[in-house]
Point group: C2
Chain length 216, copies 2
């Protein structure tokens, strides 16, 4: 592997650190849509776990001599725009977003992290490990669809909208951060490699929609 | 000390468990009013700490054979009403609420916990121990007042409103929970004892307002 541009490492840690902070905000907000106090606490616990990841990523940025706020700054607008355009209106929309949206983002970050040397690679893979979103969301969404089948069409559309917005915003980020774009191109080898990366991410997304019982 | 009504213990653990869950919600929401990402993360960390307390309290309720949701239920309306009527509109109002409001509530719960046997007494004192709210809020509010003195009058009024709403809601809770009221009367000894309890809480509140640089 070629030496990796340290700036690209800081970019990746920075975007992830801000993504985890907004994940905290969003899960904490969506927790209040929960129909039960137990569901409320469950989503709040997931939010707290994301914040723990945020703290580990900013600690690593500081260790690398980077200012965490400055490292996160270039990604604030795109991530805020993503969340503003995909604000869940129901508890189930929030769960689909937590599972499908975070799943997609996680796959994407994991693919890029694979191009980095350790310890950053290991740190990123570790903070992206599932914090319980998956099982909880799958169980709740499947149970809701089972008793109300008209829901599944609406939630499937919601899932597709999440992907569309995620693609729009990630393209905006990559277009603006040359060193991140270079890392992806060099890491995958060539444009065909980029194509395969997108295919892997798409396949995993399809699998997640099916796991929820939704038409991808 | 007379044997304590187990129902009163469940009541106190229940109200505190719900208070910690709403503290999480509120701090997470107020974090987004932060003028900086560092302030945002600092308040989010406090929110996560409150959620950890919530988890310890519900675990203890379950250990006592009580259903946590049922134990919290009687207090949901009053605590929600308190937060709805004291929703901060600015970052500084949020900090004053975190410091003055949580400080007042904490003193009140601590006074009642003193009447309980261990391990519940120790658990409650432990989850009420400061999670960093105090220093952080005092520092930020004092700095803001130093550069903008017209703020101090407005924040002092806000602090008084918090106390008024807190008293209204706690009276409503106690009036409805006979066994909690009995615990307080029996614990303090008599009405003069209740008077001294209120005096202690008021004195601590005055001290906190002064620490912020606000007129109590």
């Amino acid at each position: 592997m070629n030496a990796v541009d340290q700036g690209a490492v800081v970019d990746l840690l920075g975007v992830l650190a801000y993504a985890e902070l907004t994940a905290f905000d969003r899960l904490a907000e969506d927790a209040r849509l929960a129909p039960t106090l137990a569901g409320h606490a469950a989503l709040a616990q997931m939010a707290a776990a994301e914040l723990g990841h945020h703290a580990r990523l900013t600690a690593r940025l500081a260790e690398l001599g980077a200012d965490p706020t400055a490292a996160m700054a270039p990604f604030v607008a795109a991530l805020d725009a993503f969340h503003d355009s995909t604000r869940p209106h129901t508890w189930l929309e929030g769960l689909v977003k937590a599972y499908v949206g975070d799943g997609l983002a996680g796959d994407f970050y994991r693919e890029i992290a694979a191009f980095l040397p350790d310890p950053d690679r290991a740190l990123i893979l570790d903070v992206l490990a599932d914090t319980g979103h998956a099982d909880f969301a799958v169980r709740e969404v499947r149970a809701a669809i089972a008793t109300n089948r008209t829901l599944s069409g609406r939630l499937a559309l919601w899932g597709r909208r999440l992907v569309g917005e995620a693609i729009t915003q990630s393209q905006a980020v990559i277009a603006e951060r040359d060193r991140l774009a270079r890392l992806i191109i060099e890491g995958t080898g060539d444009l065909a490699g980029v194509g395969r990366l997108v295919e892997r991410i798409t396949a995993a997304h399809t699998k997640r929609m099916r796991a929820l019982g939704l038409n991808p």
